[in-house]
Symmetry: C5
Subunit: 98 residues, 5 copies
């Protein structure tokens, strides 16, 4: 899975029936070596109520369809968790602001 | 999913039976950090009536077969939405021309 | 899907039973921005009678198994179309030589 | 499959029901040409009791769901083995410290 | 599919039940433009009795599970053929040493 920050939203009227009502999030990967944003932005379906600015975990490919919401839908990236904290080599490199 | 612009079309007479009648679109990814076209062009199946010049959302892999049109077909990229607008960090970075 | 040129063939005697009799083609991707060959060559299964020199469309991953010939076979790239022509922004960038 | 070193852990309270209770590991790929850590870190589900510092084998995509623990779950990377040793061209390039 | 050379082996005692007994091979991709080894090494399951030094064909993703041996197993790369020869543009660029 990939850790990313929610950057924005995508809106479409003319789309496949099976994705009607889905909240489409713009996601920017976070490099866990530096905790900086890095790499190509992509679009994922929200399944956990994530908002802009939050750090989330995304799942790709057929695995992104293994949630109740996305089962059988034409989606290849789902947001499946909002991250509380990340520890690397005994050091807390990220903690969610409350 | 990946945001891309429709650039053109591909035509083939000698092809797999299961993709007969499909409209094959040439797609150029759009970098959402800059909204510039960037990266390698690829070919996807149209499922929403997209035309050259439009900004669309594509889905890849087995997920591209989760539409009524592409179910069970040998395709690994489908166009599943025409984009109306994209907002990043509270700023409208793309709006469809009407 | 990816557009590629057929460059050659691969022959193997000691191989999985399920791919016996398959014609294995060496494929070189074509960059549609320049129509030049570019990127890493790979190997795909022919399903349309493609020959060396022809420009073809390939499909990858589980989707490459969605043809009558490749159903249930351990292949991750199939050649599913011989390209007649490609148009980009109203200009014919490729036309098959007859 | 990819060889990686376990670097840390990810914790999330608000996540998909189907991944409740999973131990999420931060993984750094190891370049087998040099045995140095190299490439982008990612997150995988532990299925073998791996701890920080250990060298493990990871499996990606739909294949990461082919364990008893991850069957039908929205995960695209699983840790499926703790490595004892790696031999390349007759030379032992890695041996687990006991 | 990708052509690679077998470079070595990986051994693990603590691993998923479903991969017990599998021979895990270290594989180095071969660039078919130059026939030189190039790119990141990876690990695949042997299904054809391949040994160190041999040039093989590998299949990735869910397709690597479409052999009798790997069906339903958590593997994302299988060695499915030992290559006899490769011809590119009428020239034999590789022939197995017998």
């Amino acid at each position: 899975m990939v850790i990313a920050r929610v950057k924005g939203t995508v809106v479409s009227t003319n789309k496949a029936d099976k994705i009607q009502g889905f909240k489409l999030l713009v996601l920017k990967p976070i490099d866990l070596d530096t905790m900086e944003e890095k790499g190509t932005m992509l679009v994922g379906v929200d399944t956990v109520g994530a908002g802009v600015g939050e750090v989330v975990m995304t799942v790709a490919g057929s695995s992104s369809r293994q949630t109740e919401k996305t089962d059988g839908r034409p989606v290849d990236c789902s947001v499946i968790a909002i991250i509380d904290h990340i520890d690397i080599e005994g050091k807390r490199v990220f903690e969610k602001f409350n």
